[in-house]
Symmetry: C2
Subunit: 315 residues, 2 copies
């Protein structure tokens, strides 16, 4: 469930576009007006505003926002305003670059998006960067991490509900055997995680739990801080229980000495139209504090205002 | 260039559909009529005929063809009549099954189709088999062959012409170093072959040839009959020079003691609408015999007739 709140009467895109243009003019920028418009429009409405703005003013709205805004607020507005596929392409590209390299973000995008969303992100990546996401991920990784991330990004998973229970049982046993042998990077273990449909993987892990008495996540608790193992565990969580993954990400981002704004911004902007409501419920269950209050305490200014608006909190 | 010949006046799908229905009725089947219609319609025209046939007679045209025809002729008509994406899905699925397993066919489909055609084949695979091509390929392979085929099938390659020459040079050297060390299954070698765009790979291999004095194919001539190495070489050929790959396949299929009808049928039906003209030119150059004459000498009956019709040879 999304947290995004859209007014019952949405102005015509040309009206929104003119209001935004006005917010940039005169003395100072009207951040409140920008939030009141953009943080209450869905992806297709924002797209229509960007198109109208470009036609009317011959400028990309994103470029003008970039000029007018700054710091964390700017990053949140820009990420949010982007079309979801373009946003994923942008985030994934940043994550493959030398200085901002981040394998966890690639894993997150590949594992939490639907097969069709991932495909659209890959198309947007090619349009913008003139190369494929797969080649960039393969190029900037090596060893076990490459073995995990390349098929994770590459596979166009089956999205249906059909489950093969015989297979679920045999692959649960296979996973258990490999984990018992500490063969966490075994090719069959990687194959199962990276190619099976989410429904099939779920059936396999349920059988794992039933047959061997532990959830797989517990059996993968080795105390090791090995990056590969952390990515593998996170991928399994993303594929089977994404709201738990995002809850944990938010918890760590907020409770850090000095908030991790990049992670906080990413989760709120990428999930507000998808499942941020469920993530917030998970957050409250795990932290005994509502997510909006935690964010309220931890942030300030316009940055705080846009995050809370995307969380659906009324002023 | 395609070899398929379509008449200047194409009858309405309902007329074709009724003619085909007529060909099935009465004493015996009118194979000539079936060839004269289906072997002279393109994919969208065949699709329209199938749809009209299903609406009018409540039967799938393919099922009726299956009932009426037999042996090699039947296989050729059925494969040809299928929509290209469905046909690839069918061929790939056969190739992952225990008894008809054939890694070369999976390699061929993954490497010779355009990125969008491969994607459509993967979607058709999911619609028909309720699972992904990636999971089936990964499941039925292991070791080096899995390492090669899974990203080959999975990657949604970039299709544009942009080439990074600095990268082409560094990756040509990398390929040369690995081959000099006989590390044919090195992960970087597999990464380059399976993820780079066809244009980029071509630039890399041209630089390889310029800088090291041999085409890569020559350096991979080890005299070994290892299946992995054969697949790797074939994939490189498919990605950079598909008509040479298909010429060789046809040459071996035709010159065999007892023609390899499966390969012959597959090449003619999958390429007639794509590049069979260029494959035929390559065939003549290499064998000093026109392809249609070689097929004429090697086949007979209705099977011969449909192959020659798809090759564009007038009666």
């Amino acid at each position: 469930m999304a947290t995004l709140k859209i007014p019952s009467h949405v102005p015509h895109p040309s009206e929104d576009s003119e209001q935004l243009r006005g917010a940039f003019q005169g003395w100072g920028t009207n951040e409140g007006l920008i939030i009141s418009i953009l943080a209450h429009r869905n992806a297709s409405q924002r797209k229509a505003i960007r198109e109208t703005y470009a036609q009317t003013h011959g400028e990309d709205l994103l470029k003008d926002l970039d000029k007018e805004l700054s710091s964390d607020f700017e990053k949140a507005v820009l990420l949010w305003t982007l079309d979801p596929a373009e946003r994923d392409a942008f985030l994934a590209n940043q994550a493959t670059k030398m200085l901002t390299s981040n394998n966890a973000i690639i894993m997150e995008i590949a594992s939490t998006r639907s097969p069709l969303e991932l495909l659209k992100a890959k198309s947007a990546y090619q349009s913008r960067f003139k190369k494929s996401l797969e080649e960039d991920v393969a190029y900037h990784t090596s060893g076990d991490i490459r073995k995990l991330l390349v098929p994770l990004v590459g596979t166009f998973r089956y999205e249906g509900d059909e489950v093969n229970m015989t297979l679920a049982k045999s692959e649960a046993k296979l996973l258990h055997d490999k984990i018992a042998d500490k063969a966490y990077n075994h090719e069959d273990l990687i194959r199962i995680v990276t190619t099976r449909s989410k429904a099939q993987l779920n059936a396999t892990l349920n059988h794992y739990n039933n047959a061997f008495g532990n959830v797989i996540d517990k059996d993968l608790e080795t105390g090791s801080e090995d990056e590969y193992l952390k990515l593998l565990k996170a991928a399994i969580k993303c594929l089977t229980y994404p709201e738990k993954y995002f809850e944990e990400l938010l918890r760590l981002a907020i409770n850090k000495m000095g908030t991790d704004e990049l992670a906080l911004t990413r989760v709120v902007t990428t999930r507000a139209e998808v499942d941020l409501q469920r993530i917030a419920e998970e957050y409250q269950r795990r932290n005994s504090v509502p997510l909006d209050r935690a964010i309220d305490n931890d942030t300030s200014g316009d940055y705080q205002k846009i995050l809370l608006a995307l969380l659906g909190r009324e002023d």
